[in-house]
């Protein structure tokens, strides 16, 4: 039936409906002038300028990178996108491999976050590497198979493809491509297995990058277990991020909640206010919080295994030792307990707040490994240039804007009425 409807549409009608959400261009533009959009626009302008400098003048004029600090803010961004992109494989695994069907409502947003995150990993790389046009070289020209970076390139490339295929059902439904949608449903299981396999590999390999620099990474962070640390913390990052984003989407896209049996039975509560326990959405949040709490506790333990393995107990008394304690006690153990408290009290608000805190904690860890523990004994220190920040914020802004554009038009936060049983 959708095909008939499409042929009846003129192109103009289609554009008005699909792109401009049923409004005229004038109305659409008027509706778009919001404070958020203005700030976003300013960020994008700064980012555009920084991008022009980066590509016309090179990395020297646009960044504060140096021979002592070859990796800076954009590499940290990359590590964060990959860590928070773990929303994809964690929720897909939960729903499609572990059979936890109650989490189905958040599979699509989780995949979209992952897809956009990994897409911007690729874009960040185009900015960061000295010869962006040669990005395909490790895979297609000269394979440096001894290199962790080769393996990351291979796995990220394949995983981005997986994420794209996992995301594709949404636009397929939006465009009424039933056959494509059917085929995609058939390969869901294969994609889930492949996705988790690839994620295990590249999440840990991002930590493995630093295995080759034992002399440069502070002993409290350098460990043969770094790959395990990065993988486990990616699970934490993914869980925290999906809790956080679904909290935001639930508020921002509240009108869409009516399409789904995820709609609250009580009136839509304001952000961060405590809510009644029989709300389905809160149940999911608390469930995810439980998983996050357990993972954080495990992560706490293995971090100490790393210290024990290297026998670095004495280093805890040094300034960087104290900072290590802050990272592990404040940003790992504390959120573990906060999540646990939220789960016990069946209070989704506590879980949501803890997620925001955990997100900061993951970023702190990635910054610690890349910029604080790395070259910790160097005389010079690195701080990003304003242009590096501009590009960084531009990418985040673009991810948010693209997520919003897609969520406003496609069945991400609700189930498309014509494809209810297509899973």
């Amino acid at each position: 039936m959708t095909e008939n409807r499409r042929t009846e549409y003129s192109l103009r009608q289609w554009i008005t409906d699909k792109i401009f959400l049923g409004m005229t261009i004038g109305e659409y533009i008027k509706r778009s002038i919001t404070p958020f959009n203005i700030v976003a626009g300013l960020i994008l302008i700064a980012g555009l300028y920084a991008s022009i400098i980066r590509f016309i003048k090179g990395l020297g004029p646009s960044t504060n990178l140096s021979d002592t600090y070859p990796w800076g803010l954009w590499i940290v961004d990359l590590l964060n996108y990959v860590a928070f992109g773990a929303t994809g494989y964690t929720i897909v695994t939960a729903v499609h491999l572990l059979g936890l069907k109650e989490y189905r409502p958040i599979v699509r947003p989780a995949i979209l976050i992952g897809f956009l995150g990994y897409l911007f990993v690729g874009i960040s790389l185009l900015y960061d590497i000295g010869r962006p046009l040669r990005l395909p070289y490790p895979l297609f020209v000269s394979q440096g198979t001894t290199s962790v970076m080769f393996e990351v390139a291979l796995c990220v490339f394949l995983y981005l493809t997986v994420l794209f295929l996992e995301f594709l059902p949404a636009p397929a439904e939006w465009l009424g491509l039933k056959k494509l949608r059917g085929w995609l449903a058939k390969i869901t299981l294969a994609l889930s297995v492949f996705g988790l396999t690839l994620s295990t590999l590249h999440q840990s390999s991002l930590g493995a990058y630093f295995l080759i620099a034992p002399g440069k990474l502070h002993p409290l962070w350098y460990s043969p277990y770094i790959p395990v640390f990065f993988f486990v913390s990616s699970v934490i990052a993914g869980l925290a991020m999906i809790i956080f984003v679904s909290m935001l989407s639930h508020r921002v896209f509240s009108s869409q909640g009516e399409h789904y049996d995820m709609a609250p039975t009580t009136p839509q509560p304001p952000l961060l206010r405590g809510i009644k326990r029989d709300n389905n959405f809160d149940k999911l949040t608390i469930g995810l919080g439980k998983a996050a709490s357990i993972t954080l506790l495990s992560y706490f333990c293995i971090k100490w295994l790393g210290v024990a393995h290297g026998n670095h107990w004495g280093l805890l008394k040094t300034p960087l030792g104290y900072w290590f304690l802050v990272e592990v006690l404040v940003f790992v153990l504390l959120p573990c307990f906060l999540y646990a408290w939220g789960v016990r009290q069946e209070n989704a608000t506590i879980v949501r707040f803890t997620s925001m805190f955990t997100i900061i904690g993951i970023m702190v860890n990635r910054i610690n490994v890349t910029l604080v523990a790395f070259n910790w004994n160097a005389e010079v220190r690195y701080f990003p240039s304003w242009m590096e920040f501009a590009v960084s914020f531009t990418f985040i802004t673009l991810i948010i804007l693209i997520f919003r554009w897609i969520a406003n038009r496609m069945a991400i936060l609700y189930e498309h009425p014509e494809y209810k049983d297509a899973h």
């Binding site: 002592t68 491999l97 059979g99 000295g130 040669r134 000269s142 440096g144 620099a213 034992p214």
Partner: protein, 308 residues
């Protein structure tokens, strides 16, 4: 004993020829990598160096590097410790002699041309290669500019052309591989040094030379040959009057070759690719059976209730 680097070069080349013609077969069962057997090395006797920076000038000229801000006879540069950069393949640094009344010690720093280079191991496009001659060379037509080699190098040698907008390269000492060694000559710095601080020859021979020097003059040299075993062995070997930690060398790098550091982690990758599908399909089947049996249980109990 009067050994100069030119004699050594002759002896070294003659010896290499002999080995190539009648060498022993390698047993691959033993995972001992002894490296290219005839690779060259350079012995740096820091007790002879006077800090004249002629080597720096020779390197600059031979490799057509940009003219630096301070000329090569400006010795105020010694007030700070310098490192290599995109236009400088080698630097000489001055260190205070910890021995009372001792003369300052000058140390030439450049790519160590490791036997198992970390840069080559880290490079995702195989842009670095340890040649049979011993030089670690860089292929500029492959480099993508990821700068992972700079992260990996324990000696902080590779430098980047951050101010080259379209064709930035990684820059480091090449042991004058294509400009001299391939033409049968010795590196520019080695030849130019007026004090004959450096001796170029087969690595195995210059290690022996280093040992002989220590044995012959135990008061002149600290009993350490830097580079013999560090990070699996390097092509540039150093002798000094004092322990190396006093003159800017890292002595905590260990003897493990750097490729070994990632061997375990990389080795797990194909294992995970091979095993995860079976593991995860097993998990999937298990969880499906559980939910199916839970469904049939509820259906059975509903039927029972309906019957009653």
């Amino acid at each position: 004993m009067n050994i100069n680097r030119r004699n050594f070069l002759k002896v070294g080349l003659a010896g290499s020829a002999a080995l190539v013609i009648g060498g022993p077969t390698k047993s691959l069962a033993a995972e001992q990598f002894t490296g290219w057997p005839d690779r060259f090395g350079i012995l740096v006797d820091t007790t002879l160096c006077i800090g004249c920076r002629t080597c720096e000038a020779a390197c600059n000229e031979a490799n057509k590097l940009p003219t630096p801000k301070e000329p090569f006879d400006d010795y105020s540069v010694f007030e700070k410790k310098r490192r290599t950069d995109a236009g400088t393949y080698t630097v000489v640094n001055r260190f205070a002699n910890p021995k009372p009344g001792g003369e300052p010690i000058y140390v030439k720093k450049q790519c160590m041309h490791c036997d198992e280079p970390a840069c080559a191991s880290a490079c995702p496009v195989k842009a670095f290669r340890k040649t049979p001659e011993g030089a670690v060379v860089y292929k500029k037509n492959l480099c993508i500019g990821c700068r992972y080699c700079m992260i990996a190098c324990p000696f902080n040698i590779p430098a980047y052309e951050y101010f080259n907008a379209f064709t930035p390269l990684v820059r480091k000492c090449t042991m004058c591989f294509d400009i001299r060694i391939e033409k049968g000559k010795i590196p520019a710095c080695v030849e130019a040094c007026p004090m004959e601080v450096m001796t170029f020859g087969k690595r195995s021979e210059i290690i022996k030379l280093a040992r002989q020097k220590i044995m012959a003059h135990p008061d002149k040299y600290a009993d350490q040959i830097y580079g013999e075993n560090e990070v699996g062995g390097t092509g540039w070997i150093y002798l000094a009057e004092v322990p190396f930690e006093h003159i800017g060398f890292r002595t905590d790098l260990g003897i493990k070759p750097y490729p070994e550091l990632t061997k375990g982690s990389l080795g797990m990758v194909p294992i995970v690719i091979a095993l995860w599908p079976a593991l995860l399909m097993g998990l999937y089947t298990f969880s499906k059976r559980r939910s199916k049996s839970a469904e049939t249980e509820t259906m059975d109990s509903e039927e029972k209730e309906a019957k009653q």
